[in-house]
Symmetry: C2
């Protein structure tokens, strides 16, 4: 096999199982040996490709987390259609993966932010960068929605974006144990109630 391909494959395997284990067990609670055991690889292989556990994690954030957040939470709401529908569908999909206990990258992001807060500023910076990208793009979508006449023009897009992200991160925290499906249903309903409050008032059509 081509050496370069092998290198890429090994590194990607490590990053993939690394993310899975960091997500399910937590960063500090997952040892490098845990990851290597899963792949039947040795310490030597790990430290040949990565310089430290911290750097390894940062590469995971940039190569896997950031891209997934982009493709699952940002791209789907980029159109010029009704922003309420775009965002609703996007959240609906994300929470549905959560109900099925699959990896939901918005939640993973929030989880890591909790874990590293006040403990590792370097990693926190990278996580906050991803969060910021999500926020900025949500603001864009909302501004576009105002421009296209869907959203009341007095609405504070920044505030709405913050509110949406925070409620999403929060509901995911709550969904971890008790009846996720019921929680999702209730949450989505209230999101729609909220959207009604900020939609453009049609002055007698």
């Amino acid at each position: 096999m081509n050496k370069n391909l092998k290198r890429m494959a090994t590194m990607q395997n490590m990053q993939k199982t690394g993310l899975e284990l960091f997500y399910t067990k937590g960063y500090y609670n997952t040892s490098i040996d845990d990851i290597l055991k899963e792949l039947s690889l040795s310490k030597g292989a790990f430290y040949y490709h990565f310089s430290s556990k911290e750097d390894f994690f940062i590469e995971i954030v940039q190569n896997l987390l950031a891209r997934k957040v982009y493709s699952l939470l940002i791209e789907p709401i980029e159109g010029h259609e009704n922003p309420f529908e775009l965002i609703t569908n996007c959240f609906e999909d994300a929470l549905e993966t959560a109900v099925h206990n699959e990896m939901d990258f918005g939640f993973i992001l929030g989880n890591f932010i909790s874990e590293f807060n006040g403990r590792n500023p370097k990693i926190m910076k990278h996580l906050n960068d991803v969060l910021k990208i999500w926020e900025v793009n949500l603001v864009s979508t909302l501004q576009r929605g105002k421009f296209n006449g869907y959203i009341d023009r007095h609405t504070d897009s920044e505030a709405v974006a913050v509110f949406l992200i925070s409620s999403f991160l929060g509901i995911r925290t709550m969904m971890v144990e008790t009846a996720p499906s019921a929680l999702k249903y209730r949450f989505m309903h209230q999101i729609k109630v909220y959207f009604k409050a900020i939609e453009a008032k049609k002055e007698n059509v």
Copy 2:
């Protein structure tokens, strides 16, 4: 000094600094020695009073966390006044302590839930109990609000409670790094927008 008093004092000191360190550094990332060093006590003292690190933490949840959640997030919204004002003021106060980087017990709860999710079912049960108590009491307040004519009677109180808690937990996650004061302001504004959407429609007063 009375021996019983001394016992109580030592245990409470351990629990207090224990909670502070678990909160700031995380449970798995805080060793018992860390706590003991802070108090200039020895391992012998710890294992004389507590049977394990896990039991120690559970006692903290019940003795400190649960009580604080009750006195800071439940009691303040128990009156018969306008529930929107009660909840708004309560969140306002809680987020203000967050801005000043003091311990906000709603957030601590959400943080621990993230940390123990999927890692320690026994501890998770105790944390979920506290969360459930908060939720149940929020529902009571909302129902009372409907009864007293403040909240639209078609409103799903359970869903609103879930939505409020999730958004609160989420905004606290976001406040950990970037401009907490601005986030708080934006968040509180959108909470009010949301409340407007579920308040009782006054049919020509």
